[in-house]
């Protein structure tokens, strides 16, 4: 049996838990995405520490981190970069945009116009960007974690199914439990002030808690990714995933079922989860745990089902029970 570097995973989780209270599942999803090279879409109301979490993970692992706040007046060049005329040299030079990083946090992606969304999702898919006639490869690993606020609908552009499919996982964040929330308050109360160079001071925030050296680097991450690829997936598991995926396409309550990309994502994510749980093989539990995040954003219900008040979660549960 291969010796897995799961101690690193433990360290990462510990470090992140020191900054963010609860949200273990989200940390796990981020790590799954990192280890499999997929992208993650986080849905949740404001104030659930989405940005903090991603920032903490990036700094813990020691990879490049970039953040873009999407707004309606953004242009593709604001994300990808552009060719600009250097006044000093009178020559054009390439100005690379924030997409050139390892971990990109696309905050409130549904606020940007479809043109901007489209260019980012294309970069996510192809992992390269063309500027001024030249093609530039994006750094590896490359992970986009996008967030969107499901509450506000005014002035937003909903991502279409085809683009949602580019995200390996779509995780819905929930409010922390009462104990967790109490812990958050307590931590904030004990943070104190941060003095500034100009003599002033501001209250410390959770971002100030992200400090210290990263527990690992890109090489460690790549090594972990390689190990994930060695995780065993049994025939029974593959068969089961296949049945489940196909069932989504035949289910009468669904208008659009899962694509093969969803099946692949299920298998790959199950591998990563098995790795995170210190196993070298995947088990049904991996599938049960990940199915909701991988499947729900890829399927669409029929009008009649929506009218009957059936939810996507109900349908998925029914499919899982059937197969």
């Amino acid at each position: 049996m291969t010796v897995l570097k799961t101690n690193l995973i433990r360290d990462i989780r510990t470090r992140v838990a020191g900054v963010v209270v609860g949200q273990d599942v989200v940390v796990e999803r981020i790590l799954v995405a990192l280890l499999t090279g997929g992208h993650l879409l986080l849905e949740g109301v404001p104030g659930l520490a989405k940005t903090l979490l991603v920032n903490a993970v990036a700094k813990t692992i020691g990879i490049g981190f970039g953040r873009v706040q999407f707004t309606i007046d953004m242009l593709p060049s604001d994300v990808l970069g552009s060719e600009i005329l250097d006044q000093a040299t009178h020559q054009f030079r390439i100005h690379k945009g924030p997409v050139f990083t390892n971990l990109l946090l696309a905050d409130e992606i549904n606020r940007a116009a479809p043109k901007v969304q489209g260019c980012l999702l294309e970069a996510m898919q192809e992992r390269k960007v063309t500027l001024g006639g030249k093609t530039f490869l994006l750094p590896a690993p490359f992970l986009v974690i996008a967030t969107q606020n499901p509450i506000e609908q005014a002035g937003t552009f909903e991502l279409p199914e085809a683009q949602l499919d580019r995200f390996m996982l779509c995780h819905r964040l929930h409010y922390p439990t009462a104990d967790e929330e109490k812990d958050i308050y307590r931590r904030q109360l004990n943070m104190g002030l941060r003095r500034q160079e100009d003599g002033g001071a501001v209250p410390k925030s959770a971002f100030d808690m992200i400090e210290g050296q990263p527990v690992c680097g890109i090489s460690d991450l790549v090594e972990m990714m390689e190990q994930v690829q060695t995780i065993h997936v049994s025939e029974a598991f593959t068969e089961h995933v296949l049945r489940m995926v196909r069932r989504t396409r035949e289910h009468p309550a669904l208008e659009v079922g899962c694509s093969p990309r969803a099946g692949l994502a299920l298998v790959q994510a199950a591998r990563a989860r098995a790795f995170l749980h210190d196993r070298d093989y995947v088990v049904p539990e991996d599938l049960f745990s990940l199915a909701e995040d991988i499947v729900l954003h890829r399927i669409r219900m029929t009008y009649e089902s929506v009218a009957r008040g059936v939810s996507l979660r109900d349908v998925l549960e029914e499919i899982m029970r059937e197969v």
């Binding site: 065993h232 049994s234 029974a236 598991f237 089961h240 070298d280 093989y281 995947v282 088990v283 049904p284 539990e285 049960f288 899982m320 197969v323």
Partner: protein
């Protein structure tokens, strides 16, 4: 012999010729001898070689040159001509023999007239030159002099002084002498002053000789630059030769051009004040004028402006020190004024071209108008000018000002001109008014409109601008003194008023009063012009939606209607109020009559357009009556005036406008085809004409007849109007030789109707029920000959008609069908509700009429209504045919209707003058309308009735059952009760409703007759309870039966959306489905209820005796339907995570271990799938454990 004769003839001719020549020579010798005897000179040839020119520079030079005692006679003569010293010229010419003097005078005139560049000459110079002639002027002198005069007046309107002088008479021109008056007239006519020449008598010859090659001016040598004082000192040196002197003068002029204006003025004043060196002073000022004149031929307009300015400064400097009345300053100032005049005329000519567009500005340079105005002769300079030149300058200056931005500066000049030259002042005053109005036009230009359309959310300020412009116009007119105000043409006043108006806004009385004063102050002609203009604009411009759109008023069609209504009200109110002050103004009465007539038309068609049926016809009659009254008043006022009029002052306008108003011919020739002309009104016009006093009646009737005959001859009468126009005109004039062609035409048109007419006939009985509809056939009944010649009447049933022109087929849109339909609806609207008008197939053609045919059609035997006795039908039994046109479905409005009124169709005919449209009428039909309380409408004819019944049981479960009934018939489909036996129907009816009203699908015309094909449909809603109650195996349905055995009946039932064939009895539901829709019988319900009660009681007792072994609660976990590692692991996970199962710690550990083991065995590398029986055992074991734990708890 012939040769001898010829020689003799030639010899005679030669002898005669020799005799003649010798006679002439002898005459010359005698004259010369006589001359020598009188001491007159003969050496005219010496002076005839001189080339006489008088360009501006030469004139300036000659005027300012010092007298040269050593100069020979030729030089002196030329200098006198150039300096305008005509007295010396005259004295000189008198020295010669008369013929020689005449020749030399002609030479001077010709040279000056045909010089190129053109000579500089003033009107007074021309008169003086003419007077210098030693003999009476002949044609050879008048021609060039005319040319010179034309050159001198420079297209100026100001000729008053010149004319006055000629009328007073000069040495050789005008005055009391008839010959000299004739010569003056010929001189003026030659100068294109035809109007002025008429006061003397117009000559027929105009001489226009060619031009002469101009002399090339010498280019002076300009010396080096020197100071003003140095140059002045050099100039004052008496030893200075002519050439250096000219160079010094040039240099001085250059210094003047570049020096500061104040310095120039100072230097020139100093020179002018220098009494010791008057010769040099003359030279310098002459040089300035000379250079200004020369610059006037250059293309550098900046230089021209600078020269003009320098000239003005020079004259201003001169005025401060010298009197311009003295010579040579008087001539010099006149010549300078001429320089200005040339420049001003040039700018006036070019300015409009320059103004045309931005692109044309580079192509048409000129001295700016403001510069011209600034340097115009004024004050003492203007006063020093010759009277005619003075007028020309003032007129030209006024014109220039009128073209400039600030035209108000022109008013003082106009007011001054009123005293000296009334006609010119009038022209300028009107021009001023026109320019003023154009400058105050509030309407948006095309460029602005194009820009506006891009952003049409702005508010256009046209109306506000209009208010301001009108206010200013009123103030302007009020500010004019009485003489100037009288100069203004009233047409021009109205135009100005119009210009100040927005194109889209009506005139109001308030505006009229604001501009022209109170109604009492407005003169009759002005009021007439204003009213006529209002009428024209109301009828065209103000009701035009495109005008409103272009003016950006955003008015809708209804807004425009409202606007025009207000316009008519304002116009009528203003005119009526004015007429109250001038009741005898017949012209105004007639114009107001036309205005009211237009208003009546407008209101009527407004109601038509807006679909407001209301009481439009009554309103129309009321307004028409007002208009006719006004015409009548106008005619009466005119009649009262007739005794004072001469025969050539007779006017037909009162009767013509009355006649046109009556016929419905609007001002622009538009024709109201619907306007009926009553004999009573025609009689009134005739009576008014006949009652004219003193023999004027015959003259006026003759004038009327001539007008009608002229209109016939010129073919000016619209085709639609010919018949009505001619028949009415003939009635007015009676039998007149002049109007005979009109009489003939009326007879001819009436004769056309003997072979064709419109026929209406009822479909069925003439007893009509007010609640019921009935049909009327409308057909053309005609002879076969007319049908053949016309090519059929199908085209009257089409809106578009194909026509072949030059081998190509084009589609015309005469809208015959629409016009016919409109005429039918208009005629019927007051009596009937028109349900539908079904037109026949245009291709169906005519059908022969046979006695006893349906409806009893027979050839017309009565004369058409409103036709004379000549319109009786043909007596011969020629073949008659009927062309069906339409079938009208009508319903009487009320019981008072007693007839179907006369209907008309307009048919096209062609006579020798072209197309003529003749209305072909029908006879009214008597009908009898029944009491609405009568039992039921009387059935209309209907044959071949067919019924289709479709039962709809698709909603039987909801206790709804319907029958759709569709009936068709040849004729009009009767009521449903007359078609089906509904009263005896086994199923009770809930509701019967008309699905579609009676529709006439087609007007059939064929060998089987003429009849409409109609259709009607109903929906019968039934109560199905009787069918459903107690039904067990099937539900049967039976359609209601037809009342008549001959009615064709078809049965259908709905299968989904499609009706399918069915019988008179149909099974609606059978089998198991019956239970879903059937209603149980109440006895079965009661029995069933008792049975259920018993069964329930027994069951209860049984349960009480033997309690159930099994638990009522459902199992928490079920055995997987398909046993796979996945399903078993899922089961175990559920048990593990369930809080309902109280597993002890040991059991939990075992469970975890089992899960792990199974996962490892199945999913780990090299793992194998566990056998099914093992999985079964594992699942059952844990289900059993779970159950036991749950039971214990």
């Amino acid at each position: 012999m012939c040769a001898c004769l010829r020689i003799t003839f030639v010899g005679v001719l030669a002898a005669l010729s020799l005799t003649s020549v010798s006679a002439a020579n002898q005459k010359e010798k005698d004259k010369a001898q006589a001359a020598s005897e009188t001491g007159l000179r003969k050496d005219v040839e010496t002076f005839a070689k001189i080339k006489f020119t008088r360009q501006a520079e030469e004139a300036f030079r000659a005027v300012t040159a010092a007298p040269d005692a050593a100069a020979d006679e030729s030089t002196l003569l030329l200098s006198w001509v150039q300096s305008g010293n005509w007295d010396e010229v005259k004295t000189f010419l008198k020295q010669f023999e008369p013929e020689g003097g005449r020749r030399l005078h002609s030479k001077i005139c010709s040279d000056l007239a045909f010089a190129n560049p053109k000579s500089t000459i003033l009107p007074q110079d021309v008169i003086a030159l003419a007077d210098a002639s030693p003999v009476e002027l002949d044609d050879k002198q008048i021609g060039p002099l005319s040319g010179l005069l034309k050159l001198a007046v420079k297209d100026s309107e100001s000729r008053a002084e010149l004319l006055a002088q000629l009328h007073r008479g000069t040495n050789r021109l005008g005055g009391a002498d008839a010959d000299r008056r004739r010569i003056a007239a010929r001189l003026l006519a030659g100068a294109d002053l035809q109007v002025e020449a008429k006061t003397f008598g117009v000559p027929e010859r105009d001489l226009r000789p060619g031009a002469v090659e101009p002399p090339q001016p010498e280019v002076p040598v300009v010396p080096m630059k020197r100071s003003w004082d140095q140059l002045l000192a050099m100039l004052r040196d008496p030893k200075l030769e002519a050439a250096p002197r000219a160079a010094v003068l040039d240099e001085l002029h250059e210094l003047l051009l570049v020096a500061e204006p104040q310095a120039v003025a100072k230097q020139l004043q100093a020179v002018a004040a220098d009494r010791e060196h008057t010769d040099e002073t003359r030279l310098i000022f002459g040089m300035i004028g000379q250079k200004t004149a020369a610059a006037g031929r250059e293309v550098d307009y900046t230089a021209r402006a600078v020269h003009l300015e320098l000239q003005h400064r020079a004259i201003t400097a001169l005025i401060t020190t010298t009197k311009l009345d003295d010579e040579p300053w008087r001539t010099l100032s006149n010549l300078c004024a001429n320089n200005w005049l040339v420049e001003a005329n040039n700018s006036l000519k070019v300015f409009p071209l320059w103004l045309r567009s931005p692109a044309s500005r580079d192509k048409h340079p000129h001295v700016p108008l403001e510069t011209v105005i600034q340097h115009a002769p004024t004050g003492a300079w203007l006063a020093a000018l010759q009277s005619s030149l003075n007028s020309m300058v003032r007129v030209t200056l006024t014109r220039v000002i009128l073209s400039s931005d600030n035209i108000n500066r022109a008013l003082p000049y106009v007011q001054e001109l009123v005293r000296t030259d009334g006609p010119t002042a009038a022209k300028l005053a009107n021009s001023y008014l026109e320019t003023w109005a154009l400058r105050h036009d509030p309407n948006l230009s095309q460029e602005v409109m194009r820009q506006y359309r891009v952003d049409n959310q702005v508010i256009v300020l046209t109306r506000a601008q209009q208010e301001a412009s009108l206010q200013q116009l009123g103030a302007l007119l009020a500010s004019l003194d009485e003489p100037t105000r009288k100069l203004l043409d009233e047409t021009q006043l109205v135009r100005a008023f119009d210009f100040c108006h927005s194109r889209a806004e009506i005139y109001t009385q308030a505006h009229l009063v604001e501009v022209f004063g109170t109604l009492e102050q407005i003169s009759p002609s002005l009021m007439l012009s204003l009213t006529d203009r209002m009428r024209n604009k109301l009828a065209s411009q103000w009701r035009d939606l495109a005008v409103q759109r272009d003016a950006a008023t955003k008015r809708t069609a209804s807004d425009v209607f409202e606007l025009v209504n207000r316009g008519y009200d304002e116009a009528a109110r203003t005119a009526e109020q004015w007429l109250a002050l001038h009741p005898d103004d017949w012209r105004m009465n007639c114009t107001v009559g036309s205005l009211l007539s237009d208003r009546a038309e407008f209101l009527y068609f407004q109601n038509v357009a807006t679909g407001d049926d209301g009481d439009r016809f009554t309103s129309y009659l009321k307004h028409s009556r007002q208009a006719l009254n006004r015409f009548q008043t106008g005619a009466a006022a005119y009649a009262a005036l007739v005794p004072k009029l001469k025969r050539n002052e007779f006017d037909l306008l009162p009767y013509k406008s009355w006649f046109y108003g009556l016929l419905g011919i609007t001002h622009d020739g538009g024709v109201n085809l619907r306007k009926g002309v009553t004999r009573e009104e025609i009689d009134k016009i005739r009576t008014a004409l006949l009652d004219l006093p003193g023999g004027a009646n015959a003259a006026h009737i003759q004038l009327f007849s001539t007008m009608v005959a002229d209109n016939i001859t010129a073919n000016r009468i619209a085709p639609e109007m010919k018949y009505r126009y001619l028949s009415s005109a003939v009635h007015i004039t009676g039998r007149q030789p002049t109007i005979y062609p009109a009489e003939e035409k009326i007879k001819y048109y009436d004769s056309l109707l003997r072979e064709i007419r419109l026929q209406t006939r009822l479909d069925g009985s003439d007893r009509i029920h007010t609640r019921g509809v009935f049909g009327v056939f409308v057909s053309l009944v005609h002879t076969t000959d007319v049908a053949r010649e016309s090519g059929g009447f199908g085209k009257y049933l089409m809106n578009e008609v194909p026509r072949t022109v030059s081998g190509k087929t084009i589609i015309e849109k005469p809208l015959y069908r629409d016009r016919f339909e409109e005429a039918l609806r208009t005629a019927l609207a007051d009596y009937f509700e028109v349900h539908s008008i079904t037109f026949a197939d245009p291709a169906s053609g005519a059908r022969g009429l046979e006695a006893g045919e349906r409806g009893g059609v027979s050839p017309p035997v009565n004369s058409p209504p409103n036709r004379g006795a000549d319109a009786t039908p043909l007596a011969s039994p020629v073949g008659w045919q009927e062309t069906p046109l339409a079938y009208l479905l009508l319903q009487a409005n009320d019981q008072t209707v007693d007839r179907v009124p006369m209907l008309e169709i307009e048919l096209d005919f062609f006579d020798r003058e072209g197309k003529v449209v003749i209305p072909v009428p029908s006879n009214p039909i008597q009908i009898e309308v029944h009491d609405p309380k009568a039992a039921a409408p009387i059935p209309r004819p209907a044959t071949n009735v067919s019924l289709t019944q479709i039962v709809d049981s698709r909603e039987l479960a909801e206790k709804r059952l319907k029958i759709d009934v569709v009936a068709t018939a040849h004729g009009l489909v009767p009521e449903l009760e007359q078609l089906l036996q509904l009263s005896a129907y086994s199923i009770s009816l809930q509701k019967v409703s008309d699905k579609d009203d009676l529709i006439v699908r087609e007007l059939h015309s064929g060998t089987d007759g003429l009849y409409p094909i109609s259709e009607r449909s109903w929906t019968i809603e039934l109560d199905p309870t009787s069918l459903l109650r107690g039904a067990s195996s099937r539900i049967e349905f039976e359609f209601p039966s037809a009342t008549s055995a001959v009615t064709q009946v078809a049965y259908r039932r709905y299968q989904d959306l499609d009706p399918v064939e069915a019988g008179a009895k149909v099974t609606l539901v059978e089998g198991a489905d019956v239970a879903m829709v059937a209603e149980s019988d109440y006895r079965i319900w009661i029995g069933g209820a008792i049975g259920l009660l018993v069964v329930g009681l027994l069951t209860f007792l049984a349960l009480r005796r033997k309690p159930s072994d099994s638990s009522a609660a459902p199992p928490l976990f079920t055995f997987p339907r398909e046993v796979t590692p996945f399903s078993v692991i899922a089961l175990l996970h559920r048990i593990q995570s369930s809080r309902a199962v109280p597993l002890n710690d040991e059991q939990r550990l075992t469970l975890t271990s089992d899960i792990h083991t199974l996962e490892q065995h199945t999913f780990a590398r090299n793992g194998t799938t566990a056998p099914t029986h093992d999985l079964n055992a594992l699942a059952r074991r844990w289900l059993s454990i779970t159950e036991s734990c749950f039971t214990k708890s």
